[in-house]
């Protein structure tokens, strides 16, 4: 039973591509077949984060327009052989995507993979609506700050109206993935806390990914964080989220605030 997931957010720069790569790698590492699909036509990034930028020959536009066959465009990961990438085109724009073409590609991917993870572009225009169009499940990536949360709310409204499932009157499963969570700043009240975010969006939480330099380091070497540094805090949080996607019941841990604890200690001494 194949599952199509869209990783979306509305706002840019919140961590959609990083999360797509990390979740895709974590699911593939458990032995299931996974394809990560870059829908950000014209501004592709997933190939870089996956470390496959030097192996791209054909892309999703070639497949949508029938210029290449799907197996020609798929790039198999060198580290995990159950993980593949369908890159976007950098030279075209989102208008090159057609609904019929995307429908055909997604249908074909469903027959080949257990998980089809679509990395949506930012925004609410054609690229984003086509990325979510045929999804069974949506992961809404949100940073704990007001503009990101409001944009996520907007995207949730679109998921409930513009997807194929919504139009057929079926429900699309939706999860919130909070990224770049900084426990120290949340404790100082400089960020929205988890309860505020969930209160506004009122959807189940898939995971909380702590803000970490390891994420940036992994992106720069072209490796999903869950492969590059599997013992780091963000990698473990992504692995937990991947297990929740598979239906496992994994208890949620809010990243601890170590500095906050020390602050308290010192404050007490001073007093």
């Amino acid at each position: 039973m194949s599952k199509v997931i869209v990783v979306t957010s509305g706002k840019g720069g919140v961590g959609k591509t990083t999360s797509t790569a990390a979740l895709g790698a974590a699911l593939a590492a458990s032995g299931q077949t996974v394809v990560v699909v870059d829908f950000d036509v014209g501004l592709r990034n997933l190939d870089l984060v996956m470390g496959a930028e030097r192996r791209v020959v054909y892309d999703i536009i070639n497949v949508v327009q029938g210029a290449a066959k799907l197996p020609q465009a798929l790039i198999r990961d060198k580290r995990i052989d159950t993980l593949s990438l369908l890159p976007a085109s950098q030279t075209r724009d989102k208008d090159a995507l057609t609904e019929e073409g995307v429908a055909r590609v997604i249908k074909e991917l469903r027959t080949k993979f257990d998980w089809v993870i679509c990395d949506s572009p930012a925004g609410i225009e054609r690229g984003a609506t086509l990325a979510m169009r045929f999804a069974d499940t949506a992961i809404i990536v949100t940073n704990p700050e007001v503009s990101s949360v409001r944009d996520s709310d907007r995207i949730i409204g679109l998921l409930d109206s513009k997807t194929e499932r919504a139009e057929k009157g079926e429900r699309i499963e939706k999860h919130i993935l909070i990224t770049r969570y900084d426990a120290a700043r949340a404790a100082r009240g400089e960020m929205l806390n988890i309860e505020d975010v969930l209160d506004i969006l009122s959807l189940p939480l898939l995971g909380i990914i702590p803000e970490s330099e390891e994420v940036l380091r992994a992106s720069n070497v072209g490796s999903p964080i869950t492969l590059n540094d599997p013992n780091s805090a963000p990698a473990r949080a992504y692995c937990d989220a991947a297990r929740r996607l598979k239906g496992h019941d994994v208890p949620m841990t809010i990243p601890a605030d170590r500095r906050g604890f020390l602050d308290k200690l010192f404050r007490r001494r001073a007093a």
Partner: protein, 240 residues
């Protein structure tokens, strides 16, 4: 001197927007034949157009400025005063001609002048036909969504997100948190009210009078509140 002072003091001015029902006359290619047909018809109903707003639709005929002026003159002689033009070539227009109107929508079939202004009637009057005059929304309203319900009250059981909007002809009730905009009494009902369980609204408006979140105090923020209109002033007060 005093008059300049006065304009400097009143640094804001309120403009209203209203929509009206207008008749549209659309002449056909042979203007003279069409005018004769019009004469024949108005003979049976003299004064039909008197005192009523009429729009001239020129989309089916090609007229130069002189032609438009001639037609306006002919219509004026028949007591038909044109308030605006539709479908005209903008290059043929100048400020002395009636303005070009766009965005017109067909009115409902029964929209003759006698019942064309339901806004002026009390809300209760329209409920005589056993139509529900309230809208119940059981879900939450997401950012970017707009709910428009000109014929009565809107009740939302969930929360109303930042960046969303509810427009109601009557009152608005929000059982969750109101974070977006609520515009009650949109069709000229000054007795409409807004109620919410928790006020985080961006803007509240009743009958065109509005206040933004900046303009009310901390005592009504994050509180259950109601809002109503008192002599043209929008009041926001705690509900408890």
């Amino acid at each position: 001197m005093t008059s300049t002072d006065a304009t400097e003091v009143s640094n804001s001015m309120r403009f209203c927007i209203r929509s009206y029902i207008a008749f549209v006359v659309a002449p056909t290619a042979s203007i003279n034949e069409w005018l004769a047909e019009l004469d024949h018809w108005t003979r049976n109903s003299p004064g039909f157009f008197v005192g009523r707003p009429v729009v001239l639709d020129l989309s089916t005929v090609k007229l130069g400025q002189a032609g438009i002026r001639h037609l306006l003159h002919q219509l004026a002689e028949r007591g038909i005063h044109i308030i605006g033009l539709e479908g005209a070539d903008t290059s043929q227009l100048d400020p002395s001609l009636p303005p070009l109107l766009t965005g017109g929508r067909p009115a409902e079939k029964h929209g003759t002048a006698d019942n064309a202004f339901p806004a002026n009637k009390p809300i209760a009057a329209s409920s005589t036909q056993d139509e529900p005059t309230s809208l119940l929304i059981e879900t939450r309203i997401r950012s970017g969504q707009t709910v428009v319900f000109p014929s009565g009250d809107v009740t939302v059981l969930g929360s109303v997100a930042s960046g969303s909007e509810i427009v109601a002809g009557g009152s608005i009730h929000v059982c969750g948190t109101l974070r977006g905009r609520a515009l009650a009494g949109s069709k000229g009902n000054g007795r409409a009210r807004i109620f919410c369980r928790k006020n985080e609204a961006e803007l509240l408006a009743i009958n065109g009078y509005y206040r933004t979140a900046e303009e009310w105090g901390a005592d009504v923020r994050s509180q259950p509140v109601q809002s109503w209109l008192e002599e043209g002033v929008l009041i926001v007060a705690p509900l408890d």
